[in-house]
């Protein structure tokens, strides 16, 4: 790895700093790999993707059982249990946790996580640990997620952690096994993309509206193969919670990862967190973190610019996160889309969602409201929603629930009395987990039910078979719970 002279983007800097340099001649390496002709190996291994060192590996119960089983079968150990952290989030019930789990398969998956953590010495935030929660909430909350790190997890929303200037991406179970065994991952270097949001966001316009607007703009495959770096004044002025929301949904644009360069907002958020550096280490770390910016003159493979001042509260009407519209807009006519594929996809979406083209978004009535997930399950999200809900009542036609992102978020919210505000208004107040974001536990939509959800995916059946999901910000979800249909939250401010 020679010292690069050219100006680099943030993503390239973090990448370069984590490539494990190869000391041996590739031919010699060939001999070390069983059954490879050394000459052939030399030629081919020279084209091997970079071997990337992983600083932090987050693990949860759904995508890890087969990986641990693979280790067991091959007689391998976890190389760096001290860089690995497990929790249970996808399957956990959000009510009556002290009773036995009503779903034997879920219970088994949680038990397997517990057993694997024990067998392989991996630290686990277990179901009754106050630190338990959605894996992408707890990393930043504990201060494990830090600028400049490489972070992976068997979960596509690992992109969340990029909000703190870490290069973080989702991996599959085979790769989980690979990281457990080697603490590295062979990876092709992604391309880079700049998404700049200029100007100032209007009142009542949130990070969620920003990212939904970006995805509608670039499409659900607009970021494929790229790491998106979010830049510009509107991004800079977001709180840490807002930045986490933006980066969380990078994968919804198909991106490999999302990144925001660390700054004072990041340092302030991190300082004093349980696993953030302390004392001299803190000073040294901050000094290093300040270098984690895209150099002047560095070029991105692709760049787009959006006007932040023009962004308004957004609601998805379709079955992918790119199918959305401003709250005061109407559901578009599928015939108006640019390509036959987009037209067909919009037609299918409207049929599934049971909505007519031309319907005013505000006229869409909802049956359920879900506040939570790794996108919007942080304390700031709950505060914002509570401010809308306070002193009001959930509409008779709506069933609404709040699922805090972690045990600590829940505790904090209760300290602030938010639980009382939500309960008084008629919301269910639940225990932390993924819950209705993906419907693996009993929190699901019934067929035909329609939700306003603060989560990240509105795919067919995502929140339960036959369920219909509209993605919105916490403020918009809260307002919809009260009104029974979508309303422009700016009118309530």
């Amino acid at each position: 790895m020679s010292e690069p002279q050219h100006p680099r983007t943030l993503s390239e800097k973090i990448w370069d700093a984590h490539v494990v340099p190869s000391s041996l001649q590739e031919a010699a390496r060939g001999e070390a790999v069983e059954g490879i002709d050394p000459e052939e190996a030399a030629a081919i291994l020279a084209q091997r993707p970079d071997l990337l060192y992983i600083d932090l590996h987050l693990v949860h119960e759904v995508t890890s059982p087969q990986a641990f089983e693979g280790l067991r079968l091959a007689g391998r150990k976890v190389r760096r249990a001290d860089l690995t952290l497990a929790t249970v989030d996808h399957n956990v019930p959000t009510a009556d946790r002290d009773k036995s789990n009503p779903d034997p398969l879920s219970a088994q998956q949680i038990e397997v996580m517990q057993a694997n953590a024990k067998e392989f010495d991996v630290p686990l935030y277990d179901i009754f640990d106050i630190r338990q929660g959605v894996v992408h909430i707890i990393g930043p909350e504990q201060g494990y997620t830090q600028p400049g790190l490489t972070i992976v997890c068997g979960d596509s929303h690992t992109s969340t952690h990029g909000a703190m200037g870490a290069l973080a991406f989702g991996i599959g179970t085979s790769e989980v096994e690979h990281v457990l065994a080697t603490q590295t991952l062979p990876q092709a270097k992604p391309k880079t993309m700049s998404v700049e949001v200029t100007g100032e966001l209007g009142p009542g316009v949130t990070a969620k509206d920003v990212i939904l607007t970006i995805i509608a703009e670039i499409g659900v495959d607009g970021g494929v193969g790229h790491v998106i770096e979010y830049r510009g004044e509107a991004i800079r002025s977001l709180s840490m919670a807002g930045r986490l929301t933006v980066c969380n949904m990078s994968i919804e644009a198909g991106a490999r990862a999302g990144l925001i360069a660390p700054d004072e907002t990041t340092f302030e958020y991190l300082e004093g967190r349980p696993h953030a550096p302390r004392g001299d280490d803190w000073d040294e770390a901050v000094e290093h973190w300040r270098t984690l910016v895209t150099d002047d003159g560095a070029t991105f493979d692709r760049s787009i610019v959006l006007n932040g001042a023009a962004i308004v509260p957004f609601v998805t009407w379709g079955t992918n996160p790119g199918q959305g519209a401003p709250v005061n807009g109407r559901v578009p006519d599928p015939g108006g889309f640019a390509t036959p594929a987009l037209q067909e996809s919009a037609r299918r979406a409207l049929e599934y969602m049971d909505i007519e083209a031309g319907t005013a978004i505000r006229d869409i009535a909802v049956d359920r409201v879900f506040l939570g997930s790794c996108t919007n399950g942080r304390i700031e999200d709950l505060r914002a929603a509570a401010a809308i809900v306070e002193g009001k009542q959930v509409a008779d036609t709506v069933q609404a629930m709040v699922v805090p992102g972690s045990g600590l978020v829940k505790m904090q919210a209760e300290d602030e009395g938010l639980d009382v505000i939500f309960r008084d208004a008629g919301f269910d107040w639940r225990d932390p987990g993924c819950s209705m974001c993906l419907g693996m536990n009993p929190d699901i939509l019934l067929p035909g039910e329609r939700s306003a959800s603060t989560s990240n995916r509105n795919f067919e059946g995502r929140q339960g078979p036959g369920g219909r999901t509209h993605l919105v910000s916490p403020e918009m979800a809260a307002a919809a719970a009260i009104a029974g249909h979508f309303v422009d939250v700016r009118e309530l401010l």
Partner: protein, 199 residues
């Protein structure tokens, strides 16, 4: 890992764009802790429609599946690849695939063949019309052809990935050959980096 050289057979034309992993395997089937047995649940909700292509017995035993752009978008669940594998499908053809899904296919040994839109149009129409029309993906030659020999196209794959699949090499085994380098890298990591075992 098993070796992959050629995939020959007829193809399921799944004429939809942005097929997401929640459709390929719904979340409720992710509770299983096994690596196999997902085939029966693949595309479960779409299969409720009697006209859905997978319900057409003419496509039974297909070894290939043709779809539209951004196939496999959404969640990182490798279960989606295991579900495709469980259907007996060994190669996928589409204009583009989602990144994580594509990586996962590579690990499992399912070929993802990216072809220009018009070539996908051709194969899609052909398999829709003639369900038993044969297609062959030849990894050695890096080509896709119709088995009647009338049509052939090259496809791209990184030389390393191709070599790995042709030989069926275990990825972890290969990385472990770099163990001394990984150790050297670890020695120069700053001490202030977080560890999860310090309580």
């Amino acid at each position: 890992m098993k070796k992959v050289e050629k995939v020959t057979g007829h193809a399921i034309p799944l004429n939809r764009a942005n097929v997401d992993t929640d459709q390929i395997i719904p979340a409720k089937h992710l509770k299983r802790i096994e690596r196999t047995g997902y085939g029966p649940f693949a595309f479960e909700s779409w299969r409720e429609d009697p006209d859905f292509v997978l319900n057409d017995p003419a496509y039974g035993g297909a070894k290939l599946l043709i779809s539209r752009h951004n196939f496999g978008s959404g969640s990182s669940r490798e279960h989606a690849v295991w579900a495709v594998e469980g259907l007996g499908v060994e190669a996928l053809i589409a204009p583009s695939f989602a990144d994580i899904f594509k990586n996962n296919c590579m690990k499992v040994g399912i070929l993802t063949v990216e072809l220009p839109e018009e070539d996908v149009d051709y194969l899609m129409a052909r398999s829709e019309e003639l369900p038993d029309a044969g297609i062959e993906v030849d990894l050695q030659a890096q080509t896709v052809r119709t088995t009647d020999g009338s049509w052939e196209r090259p496809f791209e794959i990184s030389p390393f990935a191709r070599w790995r699949l042709l030989n069926g090499f275990d990825d972890i085994g290969m990385t472990l050959a770099y163990d001394t380098d990984i150790e050297a890298f670890e020695r120069q990591r700053p001490n202030r980096l977080p560890v999860t075992t310090a309580d």
